[in-house]
Amino acid sequence: MENHTQAHTSRARTYVITFFTLGVLTMVEFGAATLTGIIKLPALVLLATTKAILVAGIYMHLRYDSKVFTTLVLMGLFCALLLVSIFTVVLNINWNTEIIAPHG
């Protein structure tokens, strides 16, 4: 029972640490949003991906749970990447982070 409680305490600590890490990353994102030029998009995507991995890996237990669940999510992400990347080409998604003015 002793071990049991300890395991739970350490788990709760991991959750709290994750929470603060996510908070800090969000702050950094606000900073990255003020960047200009080619670096802004990759910086933002990298930060958001890190946050997503933390949420899925720790809060949703993917790190500790069966790899089946991770595989399911990766299959969905594969289709998602496919859709977004091809839409970028065929529907001209504008990834430009500078001012988008109405063109009319």
Partner: protein
């Protein structure tokens, strides 16, 4: 069922893949939800710079105070959600009810702030479904997300009520874990929306 092989502290129905059946169902559903939000986000990205009339994302999201607050709210709710799950696994009733109700409250707060944000965007910035494509795809995307949050709040309250009325049955921790998965997924979608909609403006 007392004899069944259980790899975890609580009751699971391990199937031929060695995972719990209900949890596998939830993850399969979330896999599908990934594509739902992908299609919505792609629509937003296609349209955000193609409006023939204003306002533009730059004008509408010049001030991110509200959305920063809401991001914090959702972030906190994810923490309270995992702590609620941890509470139920420990069998700590007080901890569980405190944290699951806090999660529901934070979800409700998120929704209220979103309604406030919407009214501000409509009344001050002049956005609206029929105004331009940016507005329409923004409201569709965040509206779908908000609908998911609303369903989540409802499910959280139902789960809390079940725990209250029936106590912590054998299946209960799994139920909490499943609603937790859903809740974190909705939070995760917000991480993406926050970056691609509000920061990549």
């Amino acid at each position: 069922m007392e004899h069944s092989v259980s790899h975890s502290a609580h009751e699971h129905e391990m199937g031929s893949l060695g995972v719990d059946t209900k949890k596998l169902g939830m993850w399969t559903f979330l896999g599908s939800e990934v594509m739902l939000f992908t299609a919505l986000i792609a629509t937003y990205l296609v349209f955000r710079g193609k409006s023939v009339a204003g306002p533009t994302p730059q004008e509408a999201f010049a001030d991110v105070t509200i959305v920063a607050f809401n991001t914090l709210v959702l972030l906190c709710s994810s923490l309270t959600m995992v702590l609620a799950h941890e509470g139920v696994e420990r069998g700590d009733r007080k901890r569980f009810f405190a944290f699951i109700l806090a999660t529901a409250a934070l979800g409700a707060l998120f929704l209220s702030v979103q309604v406030y944000e919407y009214t501000k965007l409509i009344n001050v910035e002049g956005m609206g479904l029929g105004v331009n494509l940016f507005s329409a795809s923004f409201f569709t995307l965040t509206g779908f997300h908000g609908a998911h949050v609303s369903i989540g709040v409802l499910l959280l309250l139902i789960t809390a009520l079940r725990g209250w009325r029936q106590g912590f049955t054998k299946e209960f921790p799994l139920g909490v874990e499943m609603i937790g998965l859903y809740w974190h997924f909705v939070d995760l979608v917000w991480v993406v929306i926050f970056t691609l909609v509000y920061l990549l403006r």
